[in-house]
């Protein structure tokens, strides 16, 4: 069969939107161009670094959220896991100022793993749908933050300098936090594309019954993605406390929506089975750029939320249209 003929430009645009990553990339370039025309300082190294710093934590958690969503699940409790782990780690660090910062990082990841494992158990053993299970732990974990802290905060002066530098230090040219996010992206990319366990995640999300029939340990795969989500949140929690030099009862409140937004904008399908690491990273980058750009061109922060929401809707609608068209091409 011959390819239907299309005008050149339309054909090019079609190819771009069809390849999700290219579509977002193009959108980012246009956006950056427009903002730079208005405020040339947007492209200054300082501002670009600022954007990277702002999206590092988001990228780390969104990567984990993506794995969860690929299995046709969702983890709403990420914000509370970050809040709880940040509070606990900050408390331990405050008590032991001599503790190596790297140990704090490990502690955070272990705490996160425990919280994520609990989610995983409710979902696999308890057979509670992920949306409900993590909605429950969203409240439980946040409640524990208040319980653990007695409602008080841990402030900057209570934390040692080494801990504060953990996220912002630049021994290797870029801030540690940005490097950690990049490392996380590489690891998740390798995991999802080049290991059986990673491929099992796609298989489970694409057709759960068939996955089971093919001998894929479905429950174990599900448990794993929620566990990993917890680990990512633990890591994010330590970086959060280090970067903002505090742990508060409302740390990361509402953050789950941003992680879902980054995934969905990055082309991860809410119905499971579809999603790539480059897509999510670009999704997080786009959210970060929009936030930064709106601030720089002095648009009210109220609009930032609206812009984020609009972006999600556009992403989903474009997805739908692209799929419809792809389906038609196959049929004809």
């Amino acid at each position: 069969m011959t390819e239907p003929r299309r005008p050149k430009l339309a054909g090019f645009l079609w190819a771009v939107v069809r390849l999700r990553e290219a579509g977002i990339g193009l959108f980012i370039i246009i956006l950056v161009g427009l903002v730079t025309l208005r405020v040339p300082a947007f492209l200054s190294p300082d501002n670009l670094l600022d954007i990277l710093l702002n999206i590092s934590i988001l990228a780390i958690v969104a990567l984990a959220q993506t794995m969860v969503i690929i299995t046709h699940g969702i983890d709403l409790s990420v914000s509370s896991m970050i809040g709880l782990a940040a509070m606990m780690v900050a408390f331990v660090v405050k008590q032991n100022p001599e503790m190596p910062a790297l140990l704090a990082l490990l502690l955070g990841m272990m705490l996160g793993a425990a919280l994520g494992a609990f989610n995983g158990l409710i979902i696999t053993y308890g057979k509670v749908p992920p949306l409900i299970a993590t909605l429950g732990t969203l409240s439980i974990y946040r409640g524990l933050v208040f319980f653990y802290s007695g409602g008080t905060w841990i402030n900057s002066f209570e934390l040692p300098k080494s801990f504060k530098l953990l996220s912002k230090g630049t021994p290797l040219l870029l801030p540690n936090m940005v490097l950690l996010a990049l490392l996380a992206a590489l690891i998740v990319y390798y995991f999802l594309n080049h290991t059986r366990a990673g491929r099992d995640i796609y298989a489970v999300g694409s057709n759960p019954e068939a996955a089971q029939m093919s001998g894929i340990p479905k429950q174990r795969v599900l448990f794993l993605v929620y566990l990993l989500s917890g680990v990512a949140c633990g890591l994010a929690a330590v970086l959060w406390a280090s970067r903002f030099e505090s742990a508060q009862t409302n740390t990361a409140l509402g953050f789950e929506l941003q992680t879902v937004a980054a995934s969905v904008v990055g082309g991860v399908s809410i119905s499971g089975g579809v999603g790539t690491v480059p897509g999510v990273i670009l999704g997080a980058l786009l959210l970060g750029i929009i936030q930064n750009a709106l601030t720089i061109v002095r648009i009210s922060p109220f609009w930032q939320l609206a812009a984020q929401g609009l972006l999600i809707l556009i992403a989903v609608i474009v997805d739908h249209l692209v799929q419809q068209r792809a389906q038609r091409e196959v049929q004809s």
């Binding site: 290991t195 491929r199 694409s206 019954e209 093919s214």
Partner: protein
């Protein structure tokens, strides 16, 4: 006398109960290497349950399973796969978001010693496997974009790749075109020649005669008989299956045809069909034959306003109408029973009552409030008239057998008192007994003066039920026969040959 040891699979006196109800009773079954063994029975006879016992999805409550002469016990489908048994179900079990090659090896992708997936080897293996089957597919194509026939090929390749010696195919041909069926049969014969044992389930008796060596018949969960197919006639098979003789499968009565109820002129819809014209009279059954994908369903959907036509005219009782939604169509006295009951005909999680009353809900309501008693009594009468077999009317539609689901869809549309009824594959996937009931009902409705447009891919049904036959091919009408002129050969040639052979 064969030595019993030469059976690759043997089931002895299998019994299976679900919550106290016996669905399989002392069923025995034997399978040899290098044979195609058909499993035949009405819906609910226990074929699917038997298959699920073989694959380990269900555990038998009594009896034994022997594989190569040794007793085995499968705790789950994974166990049976390991033992070389692969089942290809009606609902295909591919991963729509993974590509062809990965679908074949999912869960057991080849890896390097470091545990990394060896993609190069995976694609090479997939290529080798598919070409050894004589199948040509783009390895990087996502499974969601494959046709059903191609998906089956991938499933078969997957079965071969795990060295399955026993292949179970549950109604593999029900949604294939004639050419695709031929391809599938070629492949099955080839596998048989290479020594595979194949259990083949189909309701189409003609196919069994063409392909199978032996047939085992089940009825109401019990074993009836096993025979070589070349020693048993078609009528005999039907008698074994239903336990009675169905003298006439297609009891279309002679009916005086009345005036034109529906007239379609030069109807077109870009991309799916062109220049379709025909007349349908009161009391007439107009058969629409053709291959799957010839555009017949699209014509029906266009007339019913689901996908309105882009050109041409539709007349109902002589008046031109412009139907753009199913609500309008219902208002004009049209009813459409779609092909895919699960997707378009029923709302599976809703009760039988709710499903049947759906199109006519307004008439059971007073000032917006449903009158439960009225709804119930009407639905009850309709369900009884259709002989729906269910434990009660609050049962969910998804729990019913295919035949009973079809009865519910019919009951639902008949309550709208249609003057024109479009039936799309009215008996696909339902058993012989229910089929006869549906045919009798169609005949009765025609006698009452309803005009019926019947789309069917089953030629005996088309020939037996239709007063006139239209044949479509690639979106156009290619032939038009009266009941007397129509033969199997003429219809097949019009459905498969180029336009221009128009009689």
């Amino acid at each position: 006398m064969k030595i019993p040891d030469d059976y690759i699979l043997e089931l002895k006196k299998i019994t299976k109960r679900f919550s106290g109800v016996e669905v399989l009773h002392d069923v025995s079954f034997t399978l040899r290497s290098g044979e195609v063994h058909a499993l035949l029975g009405e819906n609910g006879a226990g074929k699917s349950t038997l298959v699920k016992v073989i694959t380990g999805l269900h555990q038998p409550d009594g009896g034994e399973v022997y594989l190569n002469g040794k007793p085995v016990h499968f705790a789950n489908p994974h166990d049976s796969r390991q033992a070389g048994i692969a089942a290809i179900y009606q609902e295909l079990s591919l991963f729509p978001d993974l590509d062809v090659a990965e679908n074949i090896f999912v869960g057991r992708q080849p890896t390097t010693t470091a545990g990394r997936v060896d993609w190069r080897k995976l694609y090479a293996e997939a290529e080798r496997l598919l070409s050894s089957l004589g199948v040509h597919l783009d390895l990087k194509q996502k499974a969601r974009h494959l046709s059903i026939a191609q998906q089956q090929m991938v499933e078969i390749a997957r079965a071969i790749s795990i060295n399955a010696r026993i292949l179970i195919m549950d109604e593999p041909t029900s949604s294939l075109t004639l050419n695709e069926v031929a391809d599938l049969f070629r492949l099955v014969r080839r596998l048989r020649q290479e020594g595979a044992a194949i259990i083949f389930i189909s309701h189409r008796l003609e196919e069994l005669y063409e392909l199978a060596d032996r047939v085992t018949v089940l009825r109401d969960g019990a074993y009836v008989d096993t025979r070589p197919l070349n020693e048993v006639s078609r009528d005999e098979l039907i008698r074994l299956m239903v336990g009675r003789t169905i003298s006439n499968l297609f009891p279309k009565q002679e009916v005086e045809v009345g005036e034109v109820a529906l007239k379609v002129e030069h109807l077109s819809r870009a991309g799916s069909f062109h220049d379709v014209s025909f007349e349908l009279r009161k009391g007439e059954i107009l058969g629409m034959a053709g291959l799957v994908g010839a555009g017949r369903t699209n014509v029906a959907r266009a007339i019913f306003g689901v996908e309105p036509p882009t050109g041409g005219q539709v007349f109902i009782a002589g008046q031109e109408v412009h139907i753009t939604s199913p609500q309008q169509a219902i208002g004009y006295g049209l009813a459409y029973v779609p092909e895919d009951r699960q997707a378009h005909g029923l709302i599976p999680p809703m009760t039988i009552t709710a499903n049947i009353s759906l199109p006519m809900l307004e008439s059971y309501a007073r000032r917006g409030w449903l009158q439960d008693a009225l709804e119930r009594s009407t639905v009850f009468a309709a369900a009884r008239q259709m002989e729906v077999r269910a434990s009660h009317l609050w049962q969910r539609a998804r729990e019913l057998s295919g035949g009973n689901q079809q009865k519910i869809v019919l009951a639902k549309w008949l309550l709208t008192r249609p003057r024109i009824l479009i039936l799309d594959e009215p008996t696909r996937g339902i058993d012989v007994g229910t089929k006869a009931a549906v045919h009798a009902l169609m005949s009765k409705l025609a006698a009452e003066g309803i005009a019926i447009l019947m789309i069917s891919s089953e030629l005996p049904e088309v020939l037996g039920m239709s007063d006139r036959v239209l044949v479509m091919r690639e979106g156009r009408i290619t032939a038009h026969f009266s009941r007397a002129e129509a033969t199997q050969e003429k219809i097949i040639s019009a459905a498969t040959q180029a336009v221009g052979a128009l009689s």
